[in-house]
């Protein structure tokens, strides 16, 4: 257990270093110059040099990367002219574009992305698992076939298509809802939820299709296992055989699948944010990539990597508590 955590932590560190190095490598390899974007079109050579120096772009890429790592661990100082600003660890630097600290940029947008994914997570888990169960227990009957059609439709529809269709129907045609605008939960809980209905639904359609499918196959597989036959042979009522023994076997693997799917969810959340114009992490990634805003992209990569590893670790730990046969190593 402790050994497992140590190993996980170790591989996390390696992973984060590799990922950020890749980001720096990519940005170095391409000829785009962020200074031109910052400085504007009418910049002359001298002005450009000043901007270069200010952004630290006049240093070799290895030095830039080293400062980035240094900032992460012990913090670093930025001097713009006479003033020196200290950026405490973990320091992700300042945006080339807006001069704002990257950490606070991310912190600002995190609630939006969390609202979107957490809400949708609840929705898709509940719908996916229940539809999957119904589908498995009614195998090859009409209900099962209808659910299978939903699954195929859901899997085949990218979020930006289903989202647009939802917008067309509920915003354009029926006019039940306005185009979503993000309202913080702390300010207006009702407005927060109302505005997130469509984004939640968008993510839920795709993800619940995935979950329905997994639950269905998991359930069918478990139902064909020997121990299910044992309990039937010992006269346990069917609802107990299914509710207690089959369900546990079918649902346990979903824990790790949620973690493996985490990357997919991040990407789909990003697309959903862009579609609905929600000011979340996804939007930030697209913007800063287009602006060659190196510190923001590096910071976001780091955060996403951290999130993925944490999600996987949490899933492993949870799995090991639920299924005692699993030995963490």
């Amino acid at each position: 257990m402790i050994l497992y955590l140590v190993r996980r932590l170790g591989s996390l560190l390696v992973l984060l270093v590799v990922m950020t190095a890749v980001v720096y490598g990519i940005f170095y390899a391409i000829p785009a110059d962020p200074a031109i974007l910052v400085c504007g079109k009418g910049c002359d050579g001298a002005q450009l040099a000043v901007v270069h120096h200010k952004l630290g772009l006049d240093q070799p890429i290895t030095a830039q990367y080293w400062h980035f790592l240094e900032g992460l661990v012990v913090g670093r100082d930025y001097s713009s002219g006479p003033d020196v600003t200290h950026c405490a660890a973990p320091c992700l630097g300042y945006s080339f574009q807006t001069d704002l600290p990257v950490l606070s940029l991310i912190a600002q947008r995190l609630p939006v992305s969390l609202s979107l994914t957490a809400g949708a997570l609840v929705l898709w888990t509940v719908t996916g698992v229940s539809l999957g169960l119904v589908s498995a227990l009614r195998e090859k009957r009409l209900t099962d076939r209808l659910i299978t059609v939903f699954v195929l439709g859901g899997l085949g529809t990218p979020v930006f298509v289903s989202g647009l269709l939802l917008l067309m129907v509920f915003c354009g045609w029926l006019q039940w809802l306005d185009f979503p605008v993000y309202v913080p939960l702390t300010e207006d809980p009702a407005g927060w939820a109302r505005n997130l209905i469509l984004p939640w639904l968008t993510l839920t359609i795709l993800q619940s299709a995935i979950f329905t499918r997994l639950t269905r196959t998991g359930m069918l597989e478990t139902l064909s296992e020997d121990h299910i036959r044992t309990f039937r042979a010992y006269g346990l009522p069917e609802r107990r055989v299914i509710g207690r023994h089959a369900l546990r076997g079918a649902l346990t693997p979903l824990i790790s699948i949620n973690a493996v799917e985490f990357g997919v969810v991040l990407v789909n959340a990003m697309l959903t944010e862009t579609l609905f114009g929600l000011p979340g992490i996804g939007q930030l990634i697209v913007q800063s990539s287009n602006n060659v805003d190196l510190p923001v992209v590096a910071g976001l990569t780091l955060t996403a990597g951290l999130a993925v590893v944490l999600a996987n670790t949490a899933a492993d730990l949870l799995y090991a508590t639920v299924d005692r046969r699993v030995v963490l190593a």
């Binding site: 296992e225 020997d226 121990h227 044992t230 042979a233 010992y234 006269g235 107990r240 076997g249």
Partner: protein
């Protein structure tokens, strides 16, 4: 030993039981008009080879074919009322709820693989208590107490504590005990045991069979024992029912049927069973050592990648000779290291330490390239005829491949392959067929032909007949004996089956926990085993009465 026998009351009466599976367009009749009676406290052995319908019959007794493709007809009467004239319950005529109430309470079942038969997620005590509560309506506390009680009854040491364990924390034999405990919980009249010991080692099998005998004597519970092993039937049943292709071929008291079978099928089946007391061919006089292993050890890393290297010793300091022209039997239970040992002999596994010499040449840990020069001399026949042939190559190609690898021209290799097929009793015209078109026994013949193609000096056979039915097994053993004569082979024969080993070997090596326990001439070893473990093994084997 057999049970006390019946007290005259019939608790189960099956008449004209037929089970049909509709598959594709046709109908497969797995059980065809089988009738039998089971007396209270009696033990009926249902015996047959694979596909005989014995397990299908067992499942039908509990109505376990309901809601599947199977169609069950006939009468399955249950209960002491059959004899007193008031009738009994017809399992086949009851509704689902009625059958459910019978299951576990009046008729219980145990299965072949006790690991998969229990729910991996729950404590064993809870699973037993759940069954007990379902039928008795007892409270949680009482049900748990009952679970501990029955676990203790089936010989689980420290039952109160072990009841909290999950199935994977139990050994194979303990799991089967736990399943028997579950069956005992509601004191059923009948216990149906479907190959209860087939997945277990012979010593553990003996313990489980003892337990079943004892429970039957104590509780008066009737036993229906489904097995492929005539020895097990002979040991634990009073009556026997021989099944073949869905039909009951012969039935009667065990002793009579086994001593004087009335039907040719039964007789042939009995003849095919290797016996510990059958006369055997005279022992060959072994020549000089062909292959010598000295202090051979092999370690494996444990699964799970820890920081420390944790290893287990699969083979631990084994030294022995294989002598020219002999058959050396290697016998042991699962995990004894016998397969690892012989795989090192033929160079499929490198030893961790120790020495192997072949024809006085040290061949230990030779690199693959140098090893090639002796590869042809050392060949192997494998256990699983499904996995030992490449499903994507024709059997002709499979047999000819070793020749082609050595640069024999394609035409000549093909010709040799056909001759070899003929030699092992296969139709050479089928050389361009694929393995799945052959039966298990035929595939094993292909495997032997392939091993012979390079005219080896040493042939290692790793459980070559374990996956086969007893009649096929006898034919393969006969083939091996024939080719040994023809080709002047030296054979190392690995098996868990002491009777088979006795039948084929000149000398026998007994292994346990990776170590060589005893090595002796076959007659000496079976007549007067010196090591205590060998004695234990020999007494555990169920003998045909």
């Amino acid at each position: 030993m057999t049970g006390n026998g019946a007290d005259g009351n019939t608790v189960l009466s099956v008449r004209d039981l037929t089970v049909e599976f509709s598959s594709g367009g046709g109908v497969l009749r797995a059980v065809d008009g089988v009738s039998f009676d089971l007396a209270a406290g009696g033990a009926l052995g249902v015996v047959g080879e694979s596909g005989s319908g014995k397990s299908t019959t067992a499942l039908a007794l509990l109505g376990l074919h309901r809601h599947t493709d199977a169609r069950v007809t006939g009468r399955i009467l249950l209960g002491a009322e059959i004899t007193d004239g008031t009738g009994g319950v017809d399992v086949n005529a009851l509704d689902d709820e009625g059958v459910r109430r019978l299951r576990g309470r009046r008729i219980a079942m145990i299965f072949q693989d006790p690991l998969s038969a229990l729910d991996p997620y729950y404590r064993i005590g809870d699973q037993i208590a759940e069954v007990y509560r379902t039928h008795s309506g007892a409270g949680r506390r009482a049900a748990w107490a009952r679970a501990v009680e029955v676990l203790d009854r089936v010989g689980i040491p420290d039952a109160a504590r072990r009841a909290r364990a999950r199935p994977h924390e139990f050994s194979g034999g303990m799991r089967q005990r736990a399943l028997i405990a579950m069956a005992l919980a509601c004191e059923p009249e009948i216990l149906v045991a479907d190959e209860p010991t087939s997945a277990l080692d012979v010593t553990v099998q003996a313990q489980i069979l003892d337990l079943l005998d004892e429970l039957r004597a104590d509780t008066g519970m009737a036993l229906l024992l489904v097995t492929h092993d005539l020895g097990v039937v002979s040991r634990s049943a009073d009556e026997v029912l021989v099944m073949h292709r869905g039909r009951a071929v012969e039935q009667g008291p065990v002793r009579e049927v086994l001593r004087a079978p009335a039907r040719p099928y039964t007789r042939a089946l009995l003849d095919a069973v290797p016996r510990l007391d059958a006369p055997r061919a005279a022992r060959r006089e072994p020549g000089d050592p062909l292959l010598t292993v000295t202090d051979l050890t092999r370690e494996f890393r444990r699964p799970g990648r820890g920081l420390r290297r944790e290893t287990t010793r699969a083979v631990d300091g084994v030294s022995l000779d294989v002598r020219r022209g002999e058959t050396l039997g290697v016998v042991g239970e699962s995990g004894s290291g016998k397969t690892t040992l012989v795989r090192m002999m033929v160079g499929l596994l490198a030893p961790t330490s120790g020495r192997i010499s072949f024809e006085d040449r040290d061949v230990t840990g030779l690199p693959e390239k140098r090893l090639r020069s002796i590869r042809g001399d050392l060949q192997m026949v494998f256990q699983d005829p499904t996995s030992s042939l490449n499903p994507r190559r024709t059997v002709g190609d499979g047999i000819a491949d070793p020749l082609r690898v050595r640069g024999v021209p394609a035409g000549e290799a093909r010709q040799t392959a056909r001759e070899l097929m003929e030699r092992v009793g296969l139709d050479p015209a089928r050389h361009d067929r694929y393995p799945h078109e052959f039966s298990g026994g035929q595939r094993q013949r292909v495997g032997i032909a392939r091993a012979l193609s390079l005219r080896p000096k040493l042939l290692v056979c790793d459980e070559p007949v374990s996956a086969l039915d007893v009649s096929t097994q006898a034919q393969i053993l006969e083939l091996l004996r024939d080719v040994q004569e023809d080709y002047g082979l030296t054979i190392v024969f690995v098996s868990h089956d002491l009777a088979v080993i006795r039948q084929v070997s000149d000398r026998v090596a007994v292994m346990r926990g990776g170590a060589l326990v005893e090595l002796a001439d076959v007659d000496e070893l079976y007549a007067s085993p010196r090591h205590e473990y060998t004695r234990a093994l020999l007494t555990a084997v169920p003998v045909l009465a």
